[in-house]
Amino acid sequence: MDTQQKFTSRTWPESPEKTTLEGKNKFLGFWLFLGGETVLFASLFATYLALKDQVPNSEHYLAKDMFELPLVFIMTMLLLTSSLTSVYAMYHMKNHNFQKMNTWLLVTVGLGLTFLGFEIYEFNHYVHEFHHTFTSSAFGSAFYTLVGFHGAHVAVGLGWFILLMIRNSKRGLNLYNAPKYFVASLYWHFIDVVWVFIFTVVYLMGMVG
């Protein structure tokens, strides 16, 4: 009845994220939001594709001159793995194992932070090595906007996980916060989905030409 009711792993329902009406609403609303985000990122991708390699003169570097596959590969692995670790966290959430869930979330956050670190390094590298900045050309603006929007999503996702862990550290798992964990992890997967397209469209296809 009550959302603060205490559960054991035995009484814990099968789909805790959708057991309460609030949870069900949150679950659906968040998915719909991701539908909207899909269009948002599609618009950013479209803009990037239209402006790719559009620079004022030949002194500017183009995509294939700058990108480095090893770096992108590492970043991809980090984010992909973090996607798996967050699945583990949800696995334990569904088993009502608060401790393990938090551990896996922590791993996820760690991976995400490393990813962000690499991204900052990467941007910094382009700026100093190639003078490829946000204001140097339309290509630069489009590149940093697309990849930066993704980076901002990563940052928000991390903040979200951390906030959840802090706020619930004393409370433990209940039907009030289970949906919160669940949608945060959905968000995290979505970030990975976007990254799959970024590494494919921006980096890999950018390297090919």
Binding site: D2, E14, W31, S43, S83, V87, L204
Partner: protein, 110 residues
């Protein structure tokens, strides 16, 4: 207000069954993760090998699409029931996004 759904008459049996099912599912997750890593590798290798771009592009896009399907259906559980509205809206969004990208690739040509 209804906040809890009855899952089964016998909680004990139900509990163990659920645990087992979840474990199994977790195993498929790990498998799909391995597949995703594998596909990523192929994608990177293809680019490093410098194949022709008309060959590489479609393959890259297909690999990305398959990976995303894995994310959506396994990691994000869209394969479970109760996702009808979700898929309707996600696919609508994807379709509109696709049209947008298509337009920007064809009729913004300057």
């Amino acid at each position: 207000m209804e906040t809890q759904q009855a899952t089964s008459a016998n909680p004990k049996v139900n509990y163990e069954y659920r645990r087992k099912k979840a474990k199994q599912e977790m195993r498929t997750h790990v498998t799909s993760f391995a597949l995703m890593i594998f596909m990523t590798l192929i994608a990177f290798i293809m680019v490093m090998a410098e194949f022709d771009k008309y060959y590489v592009f479609p393959v890259l896009l297909v690999l990305a699409a398959v990976q995303v399907v894995f994310q959506l259906y396994y990691f994000m559980h869209m394969s479970h029931k109760g996702h009808e509205a979700v898929s309707l809206f996600l696919y609508s969004g994807a379709l509109i996004g696709f049209i947008t990208i298509l337009a920007f690739l064809t009729i913004v040509w300057w």
